[in-house]
Every structure is written in C-alpha cells, then in structure tokens.
C-alpha cells in the first residue's frame, strides 16, 4: 500500500527535551498506533507534522508532497484532533462547526449530521458546557466531516467511556477499510490491540520501533501492547 505520510529525520530541540531524528511512515488504509510514555514526544511529533511546532530540521511529506510549499493543498485532505476542543468556549457547537465548514471544500453536511447523532452532540450547547469526553467527540466530529484522507489524532479516546471508545474504534476501522489512513497516539493501548495495523513506538524523543503490529508483538515475544510497553520501559530503567 502507498505511504500517505513519510517523516524523515524530524528534529526539534528544547532546553530539556529533544525530538531526535524521528522517521516513520504511515500507509493508506492503515491504523497506526503512536505510543510511548508521557513526555516521550508524541504530541510534539504530531504537532511538528503540521508545523504547529516548528521543527529544527527534517522532512515531512503527505501524499508524496513535501509540507513546505504544499500546505494549502495538504491541509484540506487531513483531519487533525488534539484531545478535546479547547477553542471558542463561548460559541455553540453549531456556530463553531459552521465556521469551520466554510474552510473545507469537501465538507459533507450528511457526514456531519451522521457523526453529530452518533456522538450525541447538541448543536445548541456551548463548547464550555461540554464534558471533556464530549469535547473530544466534538473535535473528532470536525475532523471526520470533511472526508479527510488522513486522520492525525492525538489521544482521541482519552476521556471517553468504554461504549463510546468501542463505537469510535468501529468508526476508525470502517474508515481505514475505505482507504483512510489514521495515526493516533494513545495511552490506552488496549484500543490499539483491538484496531491497529501498525505501531510506532517513541521513547525519549527517538523512534525505537515502527512496523506492522504483528511483527512488533512478535519481536517482543508476544503479549499485549501494554505488557510490551512495560517491558520496553522497564528494560530501559534497569
């Protein structure tokens, strides 16, 4: 399958942390779990992919196009959700959705209504009135309503109840089967046990593994992703 995201040697240096030569790929129609401990560099990596964090060096290509010079072409084809919606708290869900929609030529009102119902979101509610879990759902609603070919999701299942998480994973699987690539970071590794095709593991700002989930699990002698994660991190502390 063709790669829809190629990251090469992404580097970002902070006084106390360095994203060090991050490289990985994401294939079309696949769900890639992006895992690592708190502070390992997951959010910095995801934000660097979209230049929300400005990398010091490295190359990011979406759909074969380098980010630099193609930002306007790439962005409409991507859906990005980082945790819950935390902007315009005094606007209603409907107002913010309508404002967002005008920027996406492929905005699909039918899909918007479908996910609005699925996530049980009330258009008349103000963002500040939504619970943390509902804010995550709203963030996903915006990302899912414009036929994105690639979803970049930073902890999309955190704060969701088990039923909502299960529904969401079914949505993700369905989208991946339609050819949508999904890269999502999470601490809830059981979600990835259920639906991921590939795993990219980041530790202290470096990618330690990026491969198909089955191969990743085999390489660590089997078990769940949580057990493997504990193994990797405990091994480092010995």
């Amino acid at each position: 399958m063709r790669d829809v995201l190629t990251v090469r040697n992404l580097t970002k240096t902070y006084p106390a942390f360095k994203l060090d030569g991050v490289s990985f790929t994401v294939a079309a129609g696949s769900i890639t779990g992006f895992i690592g401990r708190n502070g390992a560099g997951k959010t910095t990596t995801l934000k660097s992919l979209l230049n929300l964090v400005h990398p010091d060096s490295g190359e990011v290509c979406f759909f074969g196009l380098p980010w630099a010079g193609n930002e306007e072409t790439i962005k409409p084809r991507i859906g990005f959700a980082s945790g819950g919606t935390d902007w315009y708290p005094r606007k209603t869900v409907g107002q913010l959705a309508r404002q967002t929609a005008v920027f996406y030529p492929a905005w699909d009102e039918e899909a918007y209504r479908k996910y609005l119902t699925l996530f049980a979101l009330d258009e008349g509610k103000k963002v500040r009135e939504l619970s943390e879990g509902m804010r995550v759902k709203f963030s996903l609603l915006l990302a899912l309503s414009h036929h994105a070919e690639f979803l970049l999701l930073d902890e999309p299942t955190s704060g969701l109840d088990p039923v909502s998480r299960d529904e969401l994973l079914t949505v993700f699987r369905g989208l991946a089967d339609e050819g949508v690539a999904i890269l999502f970071s999470t601490h809830i590794t059981s979600d990835l046990d259920k639906c991921a095709d590939a795993i990219t593991y980041i530790k202290n700002g470096r990618i330690v593994a990026s491969e198909q989930k089955a191969a990743f699990i085999d390489a660590y002698g089997g078990g769940t992703l949580e057990e493997i994660m504990l193994h990797i991190e405990k091994e480092a502390s010995l």
């Binding site: 979209l50 400005h54 306007e72 990005f80 902007w87 005094r90 920027f103 996406y104």
Partner: protein, 215 residues
C-alpha cells in the same frame, strides 16, 4: 483570505471592536486632542486580540486548511479594514468641518488640534504605529498582548504630543487651520507613505516570526 477576513470580522472580533469605530466622531469635538480618537479605535482592535486569546483563536485558525502565514495576514487585513473604515468616517467628518463648519466659533477659537488634512495624516500615522508596534509585537509570541500595547500606547502618546505642539511653532500655524492650507499636505503625505510602508514591513516580519513559532 476572504473567508479568513470574514471570520476575523464576524466570528472572532467582539462587537466592541465595531462599536469603537464610533470614536471617529471625536473629530467633531472642539478643545480636545481629537487624535486620541485613533487610539480608542485601536483600543477596540486590541479588544479583539484579547477575546481571540481567550478563545485560543490562533491555534484554531492555524489548524484550518490555510497557510500558517495566512493567520498573520488575516489579522493585519482586519486591522486595515477597521482602520480604513475609521479613516473614511473621519475623512467625511473632517470635510464637514473644513467646509460647512469651517467658521464655527468653537473651531476658529480651538486651541487644540482641528480636524483638517494634517489631522488625517496624523491619524494614518497613529494606525501605522498600531500595526507596527502592537500587531507586529503580538506576533513575537502570538499570545502576549500587554507589552506590545504598552509600546504602542507610548508611541501614540508621543505622536499626539508632537502633533498638538507643532502648530504652535512659528510658521506652522496653518497646520491647524480650519480650512485647507498646502502645509497640511506634509503630515498627510508622511502618514500616507508611512501607513502602507510600516504595515507591510510589520506584516512581513510577523509572518516570518509566526512561521517559526511553536503553538
């Protein structure tokens, strides 16, 4: 850019920013430093940055399918829209003062600045300073608004002081005439050149800074 400008004007900016356009009417007040009207209009724009910061607007806009630098251009474009409307309104009122009201007693005996062509030039300078010091300064961090506004406040205060003083100097009295005098074209020309020049310089610098900012 059209959609971004509409978003800035009707979604991000509070109504107060538009209401503060009414301070252009200060051009009609005699015995008052009417150039402060430009400061109040800019204060209305400042309010839009406060509400934008509360709403986490910069990150929201940067995540929309637009170039990151378009966030900067939209902010400058909206400021220019408000400043342009204020200038237009002030120009109409200034024309009224220079014609029908030119010989009204309160204006003929006015010790403070009269609304004339020079005043319009000063107004453009006040707006240019806002774009340079406030908006340009804001995009050093994309969240700090206090220091840039203080810098602008000091700069515009100095401008008001200089503009209110100049016409008391020997030979420069026509700068404050209630009717047109060719000398008034000097500050007008300075404002007309400085406004686009400083605005474009501030915008280009802000775009470069913002591109490298971590949001």
């Amino acid at each position: 850019m059209k959609e971004l400008l509409k978003k800035e004007a009707f979604f991000t900016a509070p109504k107060l920013t538009w209401i503060f356009l009414a301070f252009a009417v200060m051009a009609l007040i005699p015995g008052y430093p009417i150039l402060t009207g430009a400061f109040y209009i800019c204060f209305g724009l400042f309010q839009s940055y406060q509400t934008a910061r509360e709403a986490n607007d910069i990150l929201y806009t940067a995540m929309l399918p637009v170039k990151k630098t378009a966030v900067v251009r939209a902010k400058f474009a909206f400021a220019c829209l408000i400043e342009g409307l204020a200038f237009l309104l002030s120009s109409v009122l200034t024309a009224l003062r220079m014609t029908l009201l030119a010989h009204a007693a309160p204006y003929e005996t006015n010790a403070m600045m009269n609304a004339n062509v020079a005043f319009l030039g000063y107004m453009l300078l006040a707006f240019a300073l806002f774009n340079l010091f406030f908006i340009g300064g804001f995009f050093k961090t994309a969240h700090k608004i206090g220091r840039p506004f203080l810098t602008y406040g000091i700069a515009v205060l100095l401008l008001v002081a200089v503009a209110e003083t100049l016409h008391f100097l020997p030979g420069l009295t026509p700068l404050n005439a209630t009717t047109f005098d060719p000398l008034q074209l000097v500050p007008f020309a300075v404002g007309a050149v400085a406004f686009p020049l400083l605005t474009v310089c501030a915008e280009k610098t802000a775009e470069k800074r913002f591109e490298k900012l971590d949001l």
